[in-house]
């Protein structure tokens, strides 16, 4: 029971931080400072655990798995927001709503690929990270091809 309550508190903390970022519309803490601080906290936690007699490998694996869980929790809220956006932006907004939908699709792709890369690195599954990286490299071309295709097909219909 204590473990489940701890997981819920961890989840709510990550959700709250991501929601705070979304509400503000930009980063609450600058990523160039936040990411080194998070890495420093993880290294410090591993060092504290190792100094208490726990093996270095076990401590590292445990802390990295907790970090991977945090990344998965942080990817959940943008994914749900993208789903709500796909549901809400209907055809009543005109023909150019496609570009907003394409942007939402890009957010889904970006969140998915970043989650795959960082979770794969943190739980030491390099195939997950490699596929995520390949997908991350490919997704701008996909979004650009879709927008280009829509622009020229719509332009063709408008000319006719």
């Amino acid at each position: 029971m204590q473990i489940e309550i701890s997981v819920i508190i961890y989840m709510l903390a990550v959700f709250g931080f991501v929601a705070w970022n979304i509400k503000k519309g930009s980063f609450v803490f600058d990523p160039s400072k936040l990411i080194p601080i998070l890495i420093f906290i993880a290294v410090l936690s591993v060092a504290i655990l190792a100094s208490m007699g726990i093996g270095l490998g076990i401590a590292t694996t445990t802390i990295m798995k907790i970090g991977a869980a945090g990344i998965l929790f942080s990817g959940t809220l943008p994914m749900v927001a993208a789903g709500i956006g796909l549901l809400r932006f209907g055809d009543e907004y005109g023909v150019n709503i496609f570009y907003a939908r394409n942007h939402i699709g890009g957010i889904v792709d970006c969140v998915s690929s970043l989650v795959m890369i960082f979770v794969g690195l943190l739980i030491v599954r390099l195939d997950l990270a490699a596929v995520g990286f390949f997908f991350f490299m490919l997704l701008p071309f996909t979004s650009n091809a879709l927008a280009n295709s829509y622009y020229y097909t719509y332009q063709g219909r408008a000319n006719k």
């Binding site: 473990i3 655990l49 869980a69 945090g70 959940t76 055809d91 496609f98 091809a145 295709s149």
Partner: protein
């Protein structure tokens, strides 16, 4: 000495529940994409199906992990969905653009 069993159990439980909740969020987005693909025109449907293949691939990759459900064959399906889905989207978008 700190209780390592609690920390290990917390890490396993947190990873399991986070991956499960992320998969549920992917399923919700996938359902929204399927709804969009059924009501939109051709390029919108292509975009929505591309989004659906992405979230399906990520969910399948997550359930193939040994920390979760350890479904081995889901990994190959996920790789095929993610790679071929993106390339197929680009190819079909080019085809739609040329109009042939």
């Amino acid at each position: 000495m700190i209780d390592l069993s609690f920390l290990n159990a917390f890490a396993d439980s947190a990873f399991f529940w986070s991956a499960l909740i992320f998969s549920v969020a992917c399923a919700f987005t996938g359902l929204a994409a399927v709804r969009l693909s059924l009501k939109g025109e051709a390029v919108t449907s292509l975009m929505a199906i591309s989004t659906f293949t992405t979230v399906a691939g990520v969910s399948l990759f997550l359930i193939s992990l040994p920390e979760l459900f350890n479904v081995g064959f889901a990994r190959d399906t996920a790789i095929a969905l993610l790679v071929v889905g993106s390339i197929g989207t680009i190819i079909f978008a080019r085809l739609f653009r040329t109009g042939k």
